[in-house]
Amino acid sequence: MPPKNNKGGVNAKGSSAKQEDLTKTQTVYERAQAVYDLTRPPYDKEREELGGLHNLSTVEKTAYANWFCTAPEEYSYLPKKAQKELWKQVNESNRPLRRGQIDKPRPDQWGRDKNGRNIGDYTVQQYEQRIETQAQLTCVKALGRSFASKRLFASKGLVDSSTGEKYTLTEEDIKAEKERRKEMAALTRALYGVKMGPYSSDPEWDDVVPIPQMEPEGALAAIAYPEDYDEAMSYLRAVMAAKEYSPRCLKLTEHVISMNPAHYTVWLYRFANIQHLDMPLLDELEWLNEVALDYLKNYQIWHHRQLLLDHYYPTIADTPDEVKRFARSERAFVMQMFAEDAKNYHVWSYRQYLTRKLGMWENEAHGELDSLEGMIDDDVRNNSAWSHRFFLVFSNPRYATPDSHATEPDPQVPADIIDREVAYAQAKIALAPQNQSPWNYLRGVLVKGGRKLGSVQVFVEQYVDNLGDAEKEQVRSSHALEHLADIYEEAGDKEKADLCWKRLGEKWDRIRLGYWEWKRRSMKAASS
């Protein structure tokens, strides 16, 4: 049914209302739709809404059809009379006669912005801003292209025909370009959400074609890389593939390490750069100290430090004072690390390396033994410190047999040193007898010295009273009892040894029952 309001109700008012719509239009799509509506044949909108021409009233149909006839190419075919009649009808219909060459707008024809928002839903004002930003980006890009040409011409030594001078690239030019890149990055990001990272927006990296990760589809344990990391890694792969070693590569490795210090590839590549550039050692160490303190658990740092030392040691090897000074400063740093974690395995391994490399064996010269004693005084249960002491004492090249195995006697170690170490271990055991570290140490010392375990029997026995006596048995250290068993076994006193193991399994160290029982069985088997 044709709507009632179409019957002669259309007048000049309608036209002015449409004008108003246009100015009040909220979104880009609505504005386009309004403009389109204004340029359609009269009643075309109604025809569309009502589902076809047949639903229009006669007047409406006429107005609609007449619009087509007013087109110049159609109109010229009409006889004069018909022309006159046409204009009469057009005037009577009181509908504006607009004609535009525009297609019906689609709501999605402007595409979407970086946030996935339909640009057709932008307000006109927002849209105009966007157009302006796009124009800005175009300008900046054009200036950037002119910079690139200038750089190319300068590199080829070409002459500017307008001035007669050679093209030169000044610091100012580069600075301006860097500023432009920043602007470009900001504009690109604002418009398209595409982030231009620090590398793609730095003219210094223009010559590098990044190698992106290109993860296969469905890759396992794939990480959603942060943009910065992703970009830096793409450039890193590219310079590594090109075997480039340069200050900028060094900076790049620093950047990647700050984001992922466990990246062994970057560390190895960083060292290769340092080698090629012959970087000053102290600068690198200073930087490394900070990284190490930031990432206490990281171990790549310590291998890197070792590589650095191997590389630089020859330059100081002939100056003993220099070596000593360096040893002191390295130990100071190592101690700083131990203040955070006194048992850090990789830091201790580095200390062992340092001791060998810099020959820090003698306490008079290096104070290494004193430093260790300080650590053991802080925590007598720090087994790493005990382990290092064993290494320091029994690998000293002044007397120790080279390559003597840790579990074998070394007749070259002087007796007074064995005496000193036995006394040291015993003094520490006295502080806390249930502490296994000095017990293990004591045994290790006796083995090195080729001494019988029984040589400390009196000392050990003071921690075990009335063994086997249900009422009076007192054991102040299960480790003493274990030693005692071995002392008895060594002396051939099997019954006593067996009793020690039995009591260990029954009461004093029950969790190791399986082991004590194995010891008992093994001794029996050996004697049968």
Binding site: A221, A241, Y269, D379, N383, S387, F391
Partner: protein, 474 residues
């Protein structure tokens, strides 16, 4: 057979003895749990140091769980909670999926993530074949033309990531997975890592340690890599014969005065390196020949045995360090190799005299009950997240899930080695079967067995070896 492990037997069989030993009257638990696992050790020194404070804190966080006093948990009649199998599977599958940006620190260890998850899933009996195609694509992407696998695309090849990738491919199995590996390039690369001192560098310019020795031996033996050194290798120039030359003596130099094994000579004995050392040696030759020849076994056993603490029941990695669930594997998996090292070809490699096939049980060197208690109570993340952990105060992660479960399976199964009499046969046949006596845990919580040397399903290990045995060259 003289059963000497009285505690375990009593606990499971003799209610009377158990009720005498349990201190439930003071602890509020009605379950028959031995005091060994519920109270402080009999000797504690009064001296307080950083180490003793940390140890006390650890005991404090473990005891409520060990005493079955955590009201949020359901315990069985032995005071052991169930294994949250479905949750662990779900958690592991998550770690194989897309990881958020916070995982960027794992960018160089993605092959590890793959191995940990796939191996743990296999132990839990989950289907890993669905990951095959994606694993193949991922691994191929990480392989370098110059041999080996890096931690990711464009990363330098590394022995640890190569080890993890190769094992992952073996776990999913099948020719298409095996054929991803460029064996000729691998051989050249391994040759270039071989050091004049017998050890292996982890990567070109990387560190040399016992991990390298183990990873290299695993890769070489699984893939049947020819042992001869490529002529351009520095080790060849130094006069070494082949990839295995001097490897055992490198491992030997890592044994310390404490009896344990360190990462490299001069360093401190550490549980993870003990397993690497024993695993490496067991690949080079039959354990009963090479281990006593290379290491001081009595000292090693004493040190290994000291790794287990009470009341926690778990293993620590070093003297005076704390228990950590991951050593359930690193230390726990040493025991079958130690057992084998004590055997002789004429007798089964067991420590308690001749055994008949029908009664394969023998006394364990360590306290299996303690370890199982620690794993089930303290080593599991009991929240909906799932996964296994270091200790109750720590969050679960893929690394711990893999190694805590590996430790659990080794505590649930008895391993015996059929030792080769022939001096020239290095391969040892390992028989892994469930302990059949009554167990602490519910039978449905028994995991699949694992290979004692390669830490992957035994069948998968056999399949890949059979496959590459037919390819003596490249």
């Amino acid at each position: 057979m003289a059963t000497t492990d009285n505690r375990t037997t009593d606990n499971l069989v003799d209610e009377e003895v158990v009720s005498q030993m349990a201190d439930y009257s003071t602890r509020g638990s009605r379950l028959p749990i031995d005091v060994l696992y519920t109270s402080e050790p009999p000797i504690v020194d009064p001296l307080v140091t950083t180490t003793s404070k940390a140890q006390d804190q650890t005991i404090d966080q473990c005891l409520p769980l060990l005493r079955a006093a955590d009201s949020n948990l359901e315990y069985n009649a032995n005071g052991v909670p169930r294994l949250h199998r479905e949750r662990h599977i779900k958690y592991l599958e998550t770690t194989l999926g897309n990881l958020p940006a916070a995982f960027v620190g794992a960018d160089a260890s993605r092959p590890w993530c793959m191995y940990w998850a796939l191996n743990a899933l296999s132990l839990l009996g989950a289907d890993v074949s669905k990951f095959r195609e994606n694993l193949i694509a991922t691994a191929a992407h990480m392989q370098n033309k110059t041999g080996g696998f890096g931690g990711g695309f464009g990363q330098t090849s590394h022995l640890a990531t190569t080890y993890a990738t190769v094992l992952s491919l073996v776990i999913v199995g099948g020719e298409s997975a095996y054929e991803v590996i460029d064996r000729r390039a691998m051989w050249k690369w391994l040759s270039s890592l071989k050091q004049p001192n017998g050890g292996f560098q982890m990567s070109l310019g990387g560190e040399v340690d016992v991990r390298g020795a183990y990873c290299a031996a695993v890769i070489i033996s699984l893939l049947n890599i020819p042992l001869s050194l490529s002529s351009d290798s520095p080790a060849s120039a130094a006069g070494l014969d082949d990839l295995y030359t001097g490897l055992a003596s490198y491992v030997q130099r890592c044994q310390t005065f404490e009896g344990g094994i360190s990462a490299k000579p001069d360093a401190e004995a550490h549980g993870a390196y003990a397993f690497c050392a024993l695993g490496c040696l067991s690949i080079l030759d039959a354990p009963h020949r090479i281990i006593p020849r290379t290491l001081n076994v009595p000292r090693l056993i004493s040190w290994l045995s000291s790794r287990q603490y009470a009341p926690e029941g778990g293993f620590s990695g070093r003297t005076n360090k704390l228990v950590d669930g991951c050593y359930s594997h690193w230390v726990g998996a040493c025991w079958p190799l130690i057992q084998a090292s004590l055997g002789t070809p004429s007798k089964p490699a067991q420590n308690s005299g001749p055994q008949s096939e029908s009664t394969p049980e023998f006394v364990s060197f360590y306290d299996r009950e303690g370890l199982i208690r620690y794993i089930m109570t303290c080593g599991q993340d009991h929240s909906s997240k799932g996964g296994m952990r270091d200790k109750p105060s720590h969050r679960s992660d893929a690394y711990h899930t893999c190694y805590v479960l590996s430790g659990l399976t080794s505590a649930q199964h008895v391993v015996s080695a059929v030792l080769a009499e022939d001096e020239y046969v290095a391969n040892t046949t390992w028989k892994v079967s469930p302990y059949s006596d009554p167990q602490l845990f519910d039978e449905q919580d028994r995991l699949n067995p694992t290979d004692p040397v390669y830490a992957i399903p035994q069948k998968k290990r056999e399949e890949v070896m059979t496959y590459f045995l037919s390819k003596p060259g490249f």
